[in-house]
Symmetry: C2
Subunit: 204 residues, 2 copies
């Protein structure tokens, strides 16, 4: 079955044991990372005994992988791109993307975990790329490629610069707590991107 999205479940009213455990695991893993999370704390957060956790999942790594692939599947990122005009579509995409990421503390914890554990769990990193990066890159690339008036010799490279700028903003401002060290407003990145992609024709 498993219709409910983990993020939308209420820890107090969830009855399904597996979901309860995954909810507790999500809370602990996203907050403290893989190694610093203990199965005792997961069990306590889930409201079950540790033995029950082990009856549903083989071991700590199995629980972690189950949680991460569930989270990645539930939150596969997709983007909407209206067709006209490109100026508006691209600006809206950049704004929506950044706003969504920076307001979603669960996603920020997920991102930190994926990067932080990318040495220990390379397959987790690659799953993240498949479910979050790849689709968005392809969508944006084909959109840019379908707009010859933008005069982009390499739409995919442009798409990656576009998305990379959004990632840079999130990493420096949110993950690395850079708001007081190297602050910058979201709009300036978006406007800068728009100016670069659309060329100087729209600017004085």
């Amino acid at each position: 079955m498993r219709r409910a999205k983990l993020n939308e479940l209420d820890p107090a009213t969830t009855v399904d044991k597996e979901d309860k455990i995954l909810l507790g695991a999500m809370q602990e893993f996203l907050a403290h990372g893989y190694v610093a999370t203990s199965m005792d704390r997961v069990a306590a957060a889930a409201g079950v005994s540790k033995a029950t956790v082990y009856s549903y999942f083989k071991d700590k790594e199995g629980l972690f992988n189950a949680l991460m692939s569930r989270l990645a599947q539930e939150r596969i990122m997709d983007i909407e791109l209206q067709l006209e005009p490109p100026e508006l579509a691209l600006r809206q995409l950049a704004e929506t993307l950044i706003k969504k990421m920076e307001s979603d503390h669960q996603f920020l914890g997920f991102l930190r975990l994926v990067i932080g554990e990318s040495g220990r769990f390379p397959e987790l990193a690659q799953m993240f790329l498949r479910n979050f990066a790849q689709i968005v890159i392809e969508r944006l690339t084909s959109y840019l490629a379908s707009r010859p008036e933008l005069n982009l010799p390499d739409p995919e490279a442009t798409a990656r610069i576009f998305l990379g700028s959004a990632l840079y903003f999130i990493v420096t401002q949110e993950l690395l707590h850079g708001k007081e060290i190297i602050p910058i407003h979201r709009d300036r990145i978006v406007d800068g991107l728009m100016h670069l992609i659309l060329g100087s024709k729209n600017h004085g």
Copy 2:
């Protein structure tokens, strides 16, 4: 005293105890992260007893902070920007920056650690921003601002897009093991950046 750079020390011939310990700590922390690194393994890697480690550093967190601030200070990043012509200066900067980062496994481990532990050690993240990001942003910003022919309404935003694209490349290709999932060659990012910044005037 402390003249020697940690990275250039030979573990076999280093006699200073503090440096030996920091060398062992560097090896363990960069490879396994903060929590997964034990003081026993640090002592073994350093070739001293655990008690000796504690006689030089108050506790695990103190050792970690000492190591990280030493690494950050030793490797403060700076960039060289030749003045003319901007096309060449910017291209060379992007190439050098990416090549340096992707070939420096110690830096990649450092970056992974900083991001992964940015929840537990926010001051570490901010130290990283001060020593690696801030200076480069300022340098590149003032260079871009001194080139009115580039017609950039917001040089700092452009500098961040520029540097963010390099960071994006490193994070996706190296840290997240994306070379087989979403591969792209460094040159395409660099060329794409050049095309965007220099405008369409240089491209057919």
